[in-house]
Symmetry: C2
Subunit: 222 residues, 2 copies
DNA sequence: CTTTTTTAGGACTGATCAGTCCATATTTTG
DNA sequence: CAAAATATGGACTGATCAGTCCTAAAAAAG
């Protein structure tokens, strides 16, 4: 059972790995190959951390979600913390890539933004229970005393804000938004609104109420 | 050592307690009196839950923060969960009371709102590390599968939103806000913005950036 | 005083926590 | 084939988890 390549490296390094082997005469990995796909395991770990948060996720949860043995788990990343950081990094990268991709496909930038705002309403997890945005969850679970996590949340928040800012720039180009608008500032503003709405969703505020706030926010964007 | 009255009841019931004793001839409490103040213990418990969240707070933390013995802890509330719910309820009540009080003292309703928005910047905990708003923390830590918690977060979110809505009504009365504005909708909107800004603060976004978002939001309120 | 009632201290519980270690299995290399 | 290298399963660790229980202390009531 091999599944997804035998390199323990992640997707980005796989190419280099193959290149090394074929061109530089670096030998193939010796020893028993992994019986799991590290990428897939990380994805599963991310899902469970997303759903439950860091503290509430036990190693047992991680083992069950990934299907790995304890040895394989600790050989892939050396601690629960390391798994979490890798999973969270993956989440941020994927989310930002998705955001950018759907922006590129969007016909109307403002409708794209409305879609991002309304998106807070469909974030159901595996069991149908909303799990919110992992970035929002993580930022609020940790205090600011963990530098590595803080660095990740800051970077992701700024990244998301910039994508929203880019959407607003396109809105200006298309004539949907005043050329005087400060798109960078509005990007951070919208990111805050989205985070706030996600918190309200998790607080039990009705979908109707959320939707009308979205209308209000959109009506202010001119 | 008595400290703050010998009734194990909380503040609201203390009056009834005394009344029962004096009017209904109910005898005074027999037995050894508590050597701690339940109100004060709850306040301490609230602080530590606020700072660390539910999962990350251990019973040891709770014992250390309150100074209680394990027996007293479990006699006051029967579980960690019960302590948490009591502490969170206390937080919500106190916060809402503070919000209302400072609204009543405010001269300019819009400046009051600006103050609430900028307030996200000074939420330092005991050790100087921002701990955010407990409501935001709690809403994001728990998934929606805990009915009691959900009920508390929903109620608090709506309560805070309504106070903001009331401030906006006063702004209309004073002429600071258009009479056409939907103050209820704007109240929920502002509550979302505040939650979002708190998340950004915990994500490491700079105070300067937060402040300029506050300016942006205020400039939209007309 | 004795009795009754409540609180407090702290030993104790079984479960679970994150993490280690080692023997065995499975592969490539030579 | 044998040797080397890596992966796996799972037993094992000490620490900590939330929570229980029992005994002693301290107060009011009679």
């Amino acid at each position: 059972m091999r599944g997804c390549g035998q390199s323990p490296m992640n997707g980005l390094n796989l190419g280099l790995d193959i290149w090394n082997r074929s061109v530089l005469n670096v030998p193939m990995n010796r020893g028993r190959p992994k019986s799991f796909c590290p990428e897939q395991a990380l994805e599963s770990a991310m899902q469970v951390f997303w759903q439950r948060g860091y503290e509430a996720t036990s190693l047992q949860d991680l083992l069950a979600a990934t299907g790995l043995s304890k040895s394989s788990l600790y050989q892939t990343y050396p601690s629960k913390q390391a798994w979490f950081e890798a999973a969270f990094t993956r989440y941020c990268q994927h989310r930002q890539a998705l955001l950018i991709e759907s922006l590129e496909q969007a016909s109307s930038p403002l409708e794209y933004i409305r879609g991002r705002l309304l998106g807070v309403l469909d974030d159901d997890g595996l069991d149908g229970i909303p799990r919110g945005c992992m970035l929002v969850n993580v930022a609020n679970e940790f205090s600011l005393n963990q530098p590595e996590i803080l660095s990740l949340t800051k970077q992701a928040t700024e990244g998301f804000s910039q994508v929203l800012g880019a959407a607003l720039k396109r809105a200006q180009a298309v004539g949907e938004l005043s050329a005087q608008a400060d798109t960078e500032a509005l990007g951070f503003y919208l990111q805050a609104v989205i985070s706030g709405l996600r918190t309200q969703v998790k607080s039990g505020v009705s979908a109707q109420r959320i939707a009308s706030t979205v209308d209000l926010v959109m009506s202010q964007l001119r």
